[in-house]
């Protein structure tokens, strides 16, 4: 069959194999697995670290949800472990609540989802998909992981310094973030600068790899959609992150060198005039922050869309509907994401001109999302759908992202945003996109590519339990948020709004939502067990267990380390999703198969 590349089995491979080994054994364990320059090891390092951060970010939220469900009541069992400074008598202090909130957002976005979606999946899968021996700059790749690691450590350490971690939200709006006396914010800024640097190194590497190392015959319109998603994502990271880096430096100056870039003249804190030069502008931070953070939300979603598209094509056993349209849509989406940032700032005193501009761009940007989602829905039509665990998660992504995306519309129209801004409606909106959306897509990806890494499939039964439980629980957390939000309940409330009269009719939901959150957590145990158990005990499978067409499946299982993915360079003859091609005996037609 495709003797070009199934190396381990082809006799021609034997020689090359020995060669790869000679290359390997000079490396000690540390260089092979810790300071590795191989994209697969780095991908795994990213994946594990990011999963741990996701779990940690979730744990922070599980604590917060206690306070929201049972305000001012001692946290059972672990309440006493949190320390006097955070939770005297097991009762969480508002400072601590704010720290947890800020760090939950930061960790989930910058240390969890992006490193998993880009650093993990992107690193492991993308070079295989394009038939490359490795990333273009292996050393930078390694540096990018370790810089990320340091950034993560800085963020974690900040919990243990006096005064605790940052507590001004993941958005860190000044003057609050600057005038808050504790050092957590300084740590946050330093951590962010590391994370940004890591992303810049990574994204540059990705772009060069995709442009330069595509194998023979793999021109741009034959790339799997996942690779396109990574490509556009990398551009977003490359060009949107630097402004936040600049803003971070400016805020660091404000914190450390007592400048006043973001502090206007005449600030009075606690009825004392602050001794600062003044003349700064708090809105400057918001502009620079959202200039990154809006593209950043698409950084969260695009790789997820990429993963979902791969899995849907594979499990419907038919080509994606409108492959080219998808690509044009994602490019347009990436481009437009740079001109909508101020829709997060409608309430800052915006005039009609700017307001109309940003509302319009926001509505425009929703169109490519509608197109992408429609194309994925249409892809199902006429398929022969296999309901395995990756597919279940991928399918769930569609309506969940749909709900999240649709609820972005009333937020994007400034008049309705007046009522909804900074309420739980916003929290509901974006969690639907990131949690049952992106997180589900990431789960789908883990179940899907697990056999490539380990040679074993994860347990289907446990996978389905994980799916059903998570799906129900996660909707139980986030759907009531829309109800609360429409009633006007604000976000970031330490007590969940018990003081406010308008919140009373919907307050009982808090307990329900928290229960759902803990249930969700319980179901993650199934996943964790499945994950670790399957590494050793999962069902053994061949290199292409899903009968897929893209190049990563033509490489051997857990391809050899040290820049050697394929024994011979694969050559590509067709598009990525040639499933059920009429007149063929098998229902899949790999990209590298001549005919």
């Amino acid at each position: 069959m495709d003797n070009v590349t199934t190396a381990g089995h082809a006799p021609a491979g034997a020689h090359a194999h020995g060669h790869a080994h000679a290359h390997d054994h000079e490396q000690s364990f540390v260089w092979k697995y810790v300071f590795s320059q191989d994209h697969k090891v780095i991908g795994i390092q990213y994946t594990i670290t990011a999963l741990l951060f996701l779990l940690f970010g979730f744990a922070l939220m599980a604590l917060m949800r206690w306070q929201l469900a049972y305000p001012m009541q001692p946290i059972p069992v672990i309440g006493g472990l949190l320390g006097m400074a955070n939770a005297p008598g097991g009762i969480m202090l508002p400072e601590f609540y704010n720290q947890l909130g800020a760090m939950h957002g930061t960790i989930m976005v910058f240390l969890g989802v992006v490193p998993l979606a880009v650093g993990g999946f992107g690193n492991y899968v993308m070079p295989l998909m394009i038939g490359a021996p490795d990333m273009a700059f292996p050393k930078l790749n390694m540096a990018s992981y370790w810089v990320y690691f340091i950034g993560g450590v800085v963020m974690l350490v900040s919990f243990f310094i006096p005064g605790g971690a940052a507590q001004s939200g993941w958005t860190s709006y000044p003057p609050l973030s600057v005038i808050t006396a504790t050092d957590g914010q300084t740590m946050w800024l330093i951590g962010m600068i590391f994370l940004i640097t890591s992303s810049l190194l990574g994204s540059m590497n990705f772009i060069v790899t995709i442009i330069q190392l595509r194998t023979k015959g793999l021109h741009f319109f034959r790339l799997p959609f996942f690779v396109w998603a990574q490509f556009v994502t990398s551009f977003l990271l490359l060009l949107a992150f630097p402004p936040l880096e600049a803003a971070g430096v400016l805020q660091l100056m404000d914190k450390v060198a007592h400048t006043s870039f973001f502090l206007p003249s005449g600030l009075v804190v606690g009825n004392k005039v602050m001794a600062i030069a003044g003349g700064g502008n708090p809105l400057l931070w918001q502009h620079l922050f959202w200039f990154l953070a809006h593209p950043e939300v698409y950084v969260l979603i695009l790789p997820a869309m990429g993963i979902v598209s791969e899995i849907i094509a594979n499990n419907t056993r038919k080509p994606l509907w409108g492959y080219r349209v998808l690509i044009y849509a994602i490019i347009f989406l990436g481009f437009m994401s740079f001109v909508v940032w101020a829709h997060h700032m409608f309430m800052t005193g915006m005039g009609t001109t700017m307001n109309s501009f940003f509302q319009t761009t926001t509505m425009i940007i929703s169109i490519p999302s509608v197109i992408i989602l429609s194309a994925l829905f249409l892809s199902l039509y006429g398929g022969s759908i296999r309901y395995n665990t990756p597919m279940l998660f991928a399918l769930a992504f569609l309506p969940m992202f749909g709900i999240g995306g649709l609820t972005g519309l009333p937020l994007g129209l400034a008049p309705s945003d007046i009522h909804l801004h900074d309420t739980y409606y916003v929290i509901g909106h974006f969690h639907y996109v990131v949690a049952p959306g992106t997180i589900f897509a990431l789960f789908a990806g883990i179940y899907y590519w697990f056999p490539k890494v380990t040679g074993r499939q994860m347990n289907e039964m446990l996978g389905k339990i994980h799916f059903v439980g998570s799906f129900i629980a996660i909707n139980g957390i986030f759907f009531p948020m829309f109800i609360q939000g429409l009633h006007g309940v604000n976000r970031r409330l330490y007590d969940g709004g018990v003081q406010y009269a308008h919140a009373q009719p919907v307050l009982h939901w808090n307990m329900f939502m928290s229960m759902s959150a803990w249930t969700l957590m319980a179901f993650q145990i199934v996943f964790i067990v499945n994950f670790f158990w399957s590494i050793k005990g999962g069902k053994r499978v061949g290199p292409n267990p899903w009968n897929a067409t893209t190049l990563e499946w033509t490489a051997t299982t857990s391809p050899p380390l040290a820049h050697g993915n394929f024994e011979t360079q694969p050559e590509v003859f067709r598009g990525p999703y040639e499933y059920s091609v009429p007149g063929r005996s098998t229902d899949y037609f790999p990209q590298n198969q001549r005919d």
Partner: protein, 196 residues
């Protein structure tokens, strides 16, 4: 398996990996400094009073530094040209000159900073000085980075010339692109901060 296109160019893009990489890196640098320029404009337009740079800063010193940096850009490009012409000795000379000029730049900058700090006019003194220190400081860090890279290439890194001359020449070109960019930023910083 070796990673392709580290030395030779990929036929359909006409580029080597390093070349493309450094331009992407410079693109992100453009956005970094653009954000600072944007902040500068915003703060300046919104301010009630903004000093003329020449009232607060030492224009002759900065003028001198501008000359120094432009010269170092020329020596840098000459270093690369020397390699292209196979004149390794000249290359050493030119790259050495680039490094020395960069050091001169930093020394002059040090005296400028010292003058302000001794007078008690640190970054917290006014928004103007704040942005001055931030932007020149960040630029100074870029200079420092360039010095480190260039020194490596001048010293231990030049071994590659014997084994892989073409790859080494590419490295010098890439280091040069970065260095010219640092020069380019200064060309804008100088009038913006000192002259307006």
């Amino acid at each position: 398996m070796e990673i392709p296109y580290t030395v030779e160019v990929r036929p359909d893009t006409g580029l080597s990996n390093g070349k493309l990489g450094v331009w992407l890196f410079l693109s992100s640098e453009v956005m970094l400094f653009a954000a600072l320029f944007s902040s500068y404009i915003l703060l300046r337009v919104g301010s009630t009073e903004w000093p003329h740079g020449y009232e607060e800063l030492n224009v002759p010193m900065a003028f001198f530094n501008t000359i120094v940096l432009i010269s170092s850009s020329v020596t840098m490009v000459m270093a690369w040209a020397s390699l292209k012409m196979n004149e390794f000795a000249k290359f050493k000379l030119y790259l050495g000159a680039t490094i020395v000029l960069a050091l001169v730049f930093l020394v002059v900058k040090y005296f400028e900073y010292e003058h302000h700090l001794v007078a008690g006019e640190g970054p917290s003194h006014s928004t103007f000085l704040a942005i001055y220190f931030t932007m020149t400081g960040l630029h100074g860090l870029h200079i420092l980075g360039g010095i480190i890279v260039n020194t490596y290439l001048w010293g231990p890194g030049n071994k590659m010339w014997k084994t892989e001359p073409e790859r080494f020449t590419n490295r010098i070109e890439i280091a040069g692109l970065y260095w010219h960019f640092v020069d380019l930023v200064w060309i804008f910083l100088f009038p913006m901060l000192y002259l307006l």
